[in-house]
């Protein structure tokens, strides 16, 4: 971060205080969440966040493989973050690299905190996050999708985890960095947040921030998480409202 010189034709903040894509510093990219989008998975969710397109699927609780990972008292939440080869400008070689291993690990840890893992000893809850199109902020989009998919799968949870980043570009603290801001910016702070208990379950930071800038970034990211949380809840409500309508109408067809 900050290592790449900014090309001349990119202005991260214009005279009117608008960002590359016309947003204000405290404005997020549009976010769209849909629950229950896949047939095979026990639960699933699709998140479109700016130009990011991310799918998450949950399988389980099911038998834990490999066996030696089994915990006799709780379930294991195993996340697998993966990017499609065509999701980025230069083709990504398929399969996990060091970055995706790290993201898988911190996402698993964030979700483990909210899942009632003690209800399902010896099992594994597998969460698959697929990035179909990447445009900065895929780990936040992935974690956001994953918690909706867990809820869609009916996994008992204390709350949803919502995720959003904030950071600094063009010497300005701003929420939800886009691709140019991420590439040519000065700092990035992704946050995973449990709104009901006000707990932070994912936190990373790279770049350089003063103490005040960092405080502002964290606050902005948490505000972003709260907005994401609303969208997550709405997605789940939409999904299950449709079902209750179906249930009422079904007997008519039978008769």
């Amino acid at each position: 971060m900050g290592g790449t010189p900014i090309p001349n034709d990119i202005k991260l903040l214009d005279e009117n205080g608008k960002r590359v894509d016309g947003r204000r510093p405290d404005e997020m990219r549009p976010i769209k969440i849909e629950a229950g989008v896949l047939n095979k998975a026990d639960g699933s969710a699709y998140v479109e966040w700016g130009l990011n397109k991310v799918l998450a699927a949950v399988y389980g609780p099911r038998e834990c493989h490999p066996r030696h990972l089994q915990n006799t008292t709780r379930a294991l939440v195993q996340c697998h973050y993966n990017m499609a080869a065509f999701s980025v400008d230069d083709r990504k070689r398929p399969g996990p690299d060091r970055r995706s291993h790290e993201i898988s690990k911190i996402t698993s840890e964030a979700l483990t905190h909210v899942v009632f893992t003690e209800y399902f000893p010896r099992t594994s809850i597998d969460v698959y996050i697929e990035v179909l199109q990447a445009n900065a902020g895929t780990r936040c989009a992935g974690l956001t999708a994953a918690s909706v998919a867990l809820a869609d799968a009916g996994v008992p949870m204390r709350d949803l985890v919502a995720s959003c980043a904030a950071g600094k570009a063009a010497d300005t603290v701003m929420v939800d960095l886009g691709k140019e801001e991420d590439n040519f910016g000065q700092a990035d702070v992704p946050v995973g947040y449990v709104p009901r208990t006000e707990e932070i379950v994912l936190l990373q930071m790279d770049g350089e921030l003063t103490h005040d800038e960092y405080t502002l970034s964290l606050k902005m990211a948490i505000e972003g998480c709260k907005k994401v949380y609303e969208e997550q809840r709405n997605a789940l409500k939409r999904r299950y409202q449709v079902r209750s309508v179906d249930a009422v109408e079904e007997p008519k067809g039978v008769a």
Partner: protein, 258 residues
């Protein structure tokens, strides 16, 4: 293990229905599932298509870069096909290096596109013997309910038809559309007992004795085939499948053009 038991249990049900002339989802034996194709689904790709064939959902993306030609084909671009059967799509898929199943899927799709000369590879040459376009066809299964061969083939062709060669980005002149010369379409059939059915679902694939994928061209000629499964096919069965493939393939081709 439990999945195999389920397949055995379902086998009787599937076979019983077939003997009455119908399938679990009510289709005729030579009927494909509903097909939808959404092109340019991924903006980061040079071309892409999301194909839904019944409950099978596949995303195909094309990426291109400049590289060296193979010494024996100095005037031709290079094509690489890769299928990712990711565990998101089915409990039967596992993460890790490609297994035999995904290698077969990618090779069969590759064969249809390559041998059917879908792309005029000569037009992907930049400077003979030195620089050509390397094209990566990545097939990503998102939701798996059988017949990745055909869903992948349709997705690959649709993605190619929508692709733009990113010449400007690479400093190699102006962008131009992917040079398409033919439209090979594959149709896969399975044999269960004495019955032949096309576009199998996952359950049908699982209980099938044999499988045959046939790719045909606009003029009706055949450009690629692959038999799978441990069962056998009689000669007349092979011809029946070819006939079905030609007929249904033409319908799919018309749909891609329309």
């Amino acid at each position: 293990m439990s999945k195999d038991v389920m397949a055995d249990l379902k086998r009787d049900h599937i076979v019983q229905l077939l003997s009455k002339g119908t399938r679990v989802d009510g289709r005729a034996f030579d009927e494909m599932r509903p097909l939808t194709v959404e092109i340019n689904y991924v903006l980061s790709a040079e071309g892409s298509a999301r194909v839904r064939l019944g409950k099978t959902d596949v995303l195909v993306g094309i990426k291109m870069m400049v590289g060296s030609p193979f010494p024996d084909t100095p005037n031709s671009g290079v094509m690489t096909t890769n299928a990712e059967l990711i565990p998101l799509a089915s409990e039967t898929f596992e993460s890790g290096p490609p297994d035999q199943e995904s290698i077969e899927v990618s090779r069969v799709i590759d064969r249809g596109i390559r041998e059917g000369h879908a792309v005029d590879m000569k037009k992907l040459c930049i400077e003979a013997g030195k620089e050509v376009w390397i094209m990566f066809l990545d097939i990503h299964a998102l939701d798996f309910d059988g017949n990745l061969f055909d869903a992948g083939n349709i997705g690959a062709l649709a993605a190619l038809k929508s692709a733009i060669v990113p010449a400007a980005r690479a400093g190699k002149g102006e962008d131009y559309p992917m040079p398409i010369s033919h439209e090979p379409i594959s149709v896969t059939a399975v044999k269960i007992g004495e019955h032949l059915l096309i576009d199998p679902t996952h359950d049908e694939e699982r209980v099938a004795d044999a499988r045959l994928t046939v790719a045909t061209l606009e003029n009706g000629s055949i450009c690629a085939m692959q038999k799978g499964g441990s069962g056998s096919l009689k000669m007349d069965e092979v011809f029946k499948i070819i006939e079905m493939s030609r007929k249904r393939g033409a319908e799919v081709r018309a749909k891609l053009s329309g």
